[in-house]
Symmetry: C2
Subunit: 125 residues, 2 copies
């Protein structure tokens, strides 16, 4: 795969946010520095970056998002505001336990916590 300025910019934009943006959001951002870029190029490169393991595609219900954080981690989804936040299950043995419970060959365990984020709580812990 040869060098592409567009792909570099898309990658930089993703790595500069924790907000798990959609393709459209990335598109509007890249346009600021490359006004001529097309949405197809954004989609194509996001797919390639995912294929390269540089980013990770995440499916937030029916919404497709992109995450620079390609380390194994999980997500917390807020029912109220829709925010999707990275979380780390400190005890990774949880996943190993789950893996062992099945006859299937389990490579990965994806966990999403659903709830309400601190923003909506009157009193924080």
């Amino acid at each position: 795969m040869r060098f592409s300025h567009q792909r570099e910019v898309i990658k930089e934009i993703l790595y500069a946010t924790n907000s798990h943006p959609t393709a459209d959001w990335v598109f509007s951002k890249v346009r600021m520095s490359i006004p001529s870029i097309s949405l197809g190029t954004v989609y194509r490169n996001l797919k390639q970056l995912d294929y390269l393991g540089v980013i990770k595609t995440i499916y937030d219900g029916p919404i497709t998002r992109y995450d620079w954080n390609n380390e194994p981690h999980d997500h917390f989804k807020c029912k109220k505001c829709g925010a999707l936040v990275d979380v780390a299950l400190s005890d990774s043995s949880i996943k190993e336990n789950i893996k062992d419970k099945f006859n299937f060959k389990v490579d990965d365990v994806e966990i999403t916590l659903i709830g309400t984020c601190n923003k909506h709580l009157k009193i924080n812990k």
Copy 2:
């Protein structure tokens, strides 16, 4: 909400399969008994059945599927054939453990196992 023959048939079709069908699959099935039904009716009723808690909408990557099994359970996704299979994490304390680990108010823990299903193994356990 008043009675609708269409909704009843949609419900029966869902309850007769374990395959987590898409709206389109349901549409093609209902057509066999109600040829005049429209796709919009299928979508509307699937949404209502979900709202009533009679079925559950599940997001399998970018694909929206419907599941009659509204009991808490999780899924196994096969990388090879794309099959999505219901699984029960027998030890429900796993989820409680996870809930306790976070400051957020966690209502639910969704777990998806990713791997290869038995169909593709030369020798089964």
